[in-house]
Amino acid sequence: MKDYRKDFPLLSYYHEKGRGIAYLDNAATTQKPFSVLRAEEEFYTHKNANPHRGAYDLSMAATKVLEDVREKTKRWLNVPKDGEIIFTKNASESLNLVAYSYGMHAISAGDEILLAVSEHHSNLVPWQMVAKAKGAVLSYLYLDEEGRITAEEVKKKITDKTKLVAIAQVSNVTGCISPLEDIIGLAHKRDAVVVVDGTQGAPHLTVDLEKMDADFYAFSGHKMLGPMGIGILYGKKQHLESMPPFLYGGDMIEYVKEQSATFAPLPQKFEAGTQNMGSIAGFGAAIAYLEGVGMKKLQALEKELTGYLLEKLGNIPYVSIVGSSGPENRIGVVPFVIEGVHPHDVVTILNKDSVAIRAGNHCAQPLHAYLKVPATCRASVYLYNTRDDIDRLADSLKGVRRWLGYGA
């Protein structure tokens, strides 16, 4: 089997310094392979010029990087002909773009915006803003005992008043995959628009936007091996074309007069100012890396690791997995708690063993309130993790209660 770890300089760096890091916080951000770092460097050492703004070769080369990565993204996500890809700085900006430029115009008083109680704040707070400004109502999909959104719940909550559904493809807390087919089917039957937060989906699942039929799909490059500072927004052109711009300024205009301006066609209309070209180049390399591994292969690897993680966590006394403890229909994001120990203390104690996981509410406070747990620990795997990382997590977890003065 290929040793993916060799491709990740950060993992080698800490390994060579002594104790390697068991990096299990991939839902927050992933490590970056050499190829991504090289692509960034390659852009700045060989192609650096402002894209779209110069007629000389170097500017053409920069423009080509921008458009090549856009095309590569479209191929990777199977973007239909009537859809477009817009570069932003992260998933949060992508979702804000939709909230401001679509939501603030399409939503009016009395309309309902439907979202899951498990949404990340980035796909929740912008809709609160829209609802407040427009006098619309936020209504929520709640989870079953396993932490899943069921088709029945969706049927119950979508009404004739539902104008927009905002839903994560995969929850960043529970790791559960949402029933998007049901949700999008039911929403479209009522002419509601569906905004899918793909931040935890795109890095792990095979995404086919033509088949999915979402109206908008947003995610971040940094959670799928890409650099920080690059976000993606897919939208159906029918919406994007009728939406006003989000940010105004250079590159997004056609003609500017003293008192008025006309705007550039898609996608430039939504890409004001100089783009983060290094990150865009790196993002292209991240897609290439994932294509090289193959999404099927990646899923098989992750499934194996997730099964092992669930099994190991399930066997540690005083540790309880929150939500589904089964390996089906989920990704390798697993929330858990230790009896008598606050997650924040767990993370500090694991840190001494160079085991990196996350504690807190993972930008999902309404979900934690709904589950009635103030905070959780969260371990999340990616393709370079090994059984050894998970063993180290389990061993370190076994010692946690002793630090807090419990007998065992």
Binding site: H342, P343, H344, V347, T348, G360, N361, Q365, P374, W403
Partner: protein, 142 residues
């Protein structure tokens, strides 16, 4: 600060203390303090009469550090004037930020001095100061 200093007997003992874990019947100040990233969430209730902190209630949840720091604070400010309590808060926060180092001042913090070296653990500083910031806000509210 090493882990065994962080999870010392005294900190663990205070973190489990139930002494102030009850809502007050008639609080006249209530203040909530949260660390959004880690999930510490405390609710401080005070009953102040004639400028003196008569009763303290500490509700909410949090890690051992935030809980221990809050219990120590409660013990320290009970029966003190609001001015004294405010000074203690400034001293504690100053100790953590290393802007206060005079021995006489630090002594006033009594047990809470155990957190003096928490600044070596930047990830936990917020936990230790949460209750003190919350106290300051409660006192500033009129």
């Amino acid at each position: 600060m090493e882990l065994n200093e962080l999870y010392s007997d005294i900190i663990l003992e205070y973190s489990r203390s139930e002494a102030y874990r009850k809502p007050l019947k008639e609080p006249n100040r209530k203040e909530r303090g949260v660390n959004p990233s880690c999930g510490d969430d405390i609710e401080l209730e005070l009953k102040i009469e004639d400028g003196i902190i008569k009763e303290i209630g500490l509700l909410g949840t949090g890690c051992a550090i935030s809980q221990a720091s809050a219990s120590m604070m409660a013990e320290l400010i009970e029966g003190k004037t609001t001015e004294e309590a405010g000074r203690l808060a400034d001293t504690f926060i100053g100790m953590i930020q290393k802007t206060v180092s005079e021995e006489e001042k630090l002594e006033t913090l009594e047990e809470a001095r155990v957190f003096q070296n928490i600044s070596n653990m930047p990830a936990r500083v917020k936990c230790a100061v949460l209750s003190w910031h919350t106290l300051k806000e409660a006192l500033e509210k009129k």
